[in-house]
Subunit: 343 residues, 2 copies
């Protein structure tokens, strides 16, 4: 039985504060590329791994009720990925299938079939898209905007972290719905992308706005109907001052808060009452059932180039730590993907 | 034409910090008890006035977009009240009708018919109930719990300011739905009311709990499905740590924050994501249309004594300032009503 090298990205210890590359290490273990006797698991060759902000939450030492998904120091990170089935002990999968779902940050993984979420049926797109526009971020943008946000034509939509994996799609989906869309991002390059590549009506660099309330009033003189929340903290506080009556705030993430020992306090929540706002947290895992409907919606738009997708590709597991860490300084432009192997 | 005395409660100046009795004054003006020629207004004799926490918001100097309902220094307060029609220039009302809606804090008021919300049809209850269980607080509790909170039998419900005008009803409505209900209040007397009068399953005095998170964990070891939010601030922060997956937070008020120049920051909002919580502000004014349905629901329960209502009655306009101010120190036990005249 062939024993092969299995390079891994290991969490060294629980992370506090901003994650550093040195919080992780690359180790070379070995793996036997053969399922154990009578196993109903699936042996995967990992191709593309998804770098996502929520991973920071799973790197923290658990307090109170432990999250079963929290990473274990000494073990590889776990996340969404695109993989090829090498051998399957489960009837749903067979050798050669391409799948996406939860896998480990390593070259080869032995996983329970329950960790695989979907078989990849449409291969006329870059496979990496299944970590992004055709994967978790795609459904997240779709469900968050349409199921939670309920946009109507002509409404005003604000998206934070707007050039990111989810934000760029939220903005484009909202434009397709006939909304006025403005996004915020952290560099001029990203703001240019919003306007010139993704078709947003406007955008601003939040790092260059001393007064976020004023920036929002400039872009939304009549207020915001939907705020797609990716960042939390000061941005949320400024948005609350600018929401319209019966506005909606789908809460997808709060990346500005994940590295803080003490979260920034949000002071303007009473505006939820004054404006009768619905603020609603959600997660992709509640919307798995929408995946077929989502593909029906999004595939034609991609084929007709009515929706574009920008990825930031890092090559090789050894660049994984830098890719994850970069999410929190905003180094990535577009969806951060890590290539383990291309086939 | 009879000119009569018209005692009024006037706002002296915009209020900052906790309101004081001296922020208001009692003045004696006069009024002619006759509608002006060709007027389509309605002349009211005010009977019962409602003292409500939201009034504090209207006492503040407007910042940014002015709220058209903000009180005008030198003019009487405006609020919900029960009144008798003395003369009507509008075909919907006639002399002798009892009505409830917006009126001024004075003995007699000339109002636009649009300020009257409902004619009182059921008079086999104390008329003061139309400032409470049969008025704005009743519909607020009903709509907030059922329309926004969507309770299911067996769910865990937490109510803050639980012995107040709205809270006591939310708890009783939730018990009728088959929920487990715990409330918080600010004195032992009020907590006793929750358990012994309103039939809550439990209650605690938040002023005697050094650790609100621990208090909630004691009462809700399995977490909270619905938090009916009346207070904001630290209570909300502790609740967020104890919400269950897919929990709901109808946001009715944030009384702990209305007197603060700087709002307390709420730090645990990321739990909206982790638990996929829906937090939704609402106001009675969005639910006027539910009033007939609400009466059908609540009237039989009152008649059969399955729901009780506790009021705190202050006598006479001259006691109005103390009654309003008392809301913010929790002096009132149950719904604070001000009697101007009994008929």
């Amino acid at each position: 039985m062939a024993q092969v090298r299995n390079k891994q990205v290991i969490l060294k210890d629980y992370v506090s504060g901003f994650p550093k590359e040195s919080d992780m290490e690359i180790v070379e273990s070995t793996i036997t590329l053969k399922l154990p006797e009578a196993s109903n698991e699936v042996l995967l060759k990992n191709l593309y791994l998804s770098c996502d902000p929520y991973m920071r939450i799973l790197m923290a030492k658990p307090e109170g009720t432990p999250n079963p998904r929290t990473y274990t120091p000494g073990s590889p990170l776990v996340g969404y990925g695109v993989s090829k089935v090498l051998e399957s002990g489960h009837t749903d999968y067979k050798e050669g299938d391409l799948v996406w779902g939860f896998t480990k940050w390593e070259e080869y993984s032995l996983v329970s079939s329950a960790q695989i979420l979907f078989k990849i049926e449409h291969t006329d797109f870059p496979l990496s898209y299944y970590t992004g526009i055709l994967g978790m971020p795609g459904v997240t943008a779709y469900a968050g905007l349409f199921e939670v946000g309920s946009p109507k034509k002509g409404e005003n939509v604000f998206v934070s972290a707007a050039s990111g994996a989810v934000g760029q799609l939220v903005g484009q989906f909202a434009k397709l719905t006939g909304c006025y869309v403005v996004g915020s991002a952290g560099t001029k390059e990203k703001v240019d992308l919003l306007k010139n590549k993704f078709g947003f009506d406007g955008g601003f660099n939040y790092k260059e706005e001393p007064d976020l309330d004023a920036a929002l009033k400039r872009h939304f003189p009549e207020g915001i109907d939907i705020y797609f929340e990716n960042v939390g903290g000061k941005t949320l506080d400024a948005v609350l001052l600018n929401m319209r009556v019966h506005g909606r705030i789908p809460v997808c993430g709060m990346i500005s808060q994940y590295n803080l020992a003490q979260q920034e306090g949000v002071q303007n929540l009473a505006h939820l009452i004054y404006k009768r706002i619905r603020m609603q947290g959600f997660m992709f895992s509640d919307f798995y059932h929408l995946y077929p409907k989502f593909l029906e919606f999004v595939l034609p738009h991609i084929r007709e180039e009515k929706i574009v997708y920008v990825e930031d590709i890092a090559e090789g597991l050894e660049n994984g730590p830098a890719a994850v860490v970069g999410l929190f300084s905003g180094r990535n432009v577009g969806k951060q993907v890590l290539v383990v192997a291309r086939e």
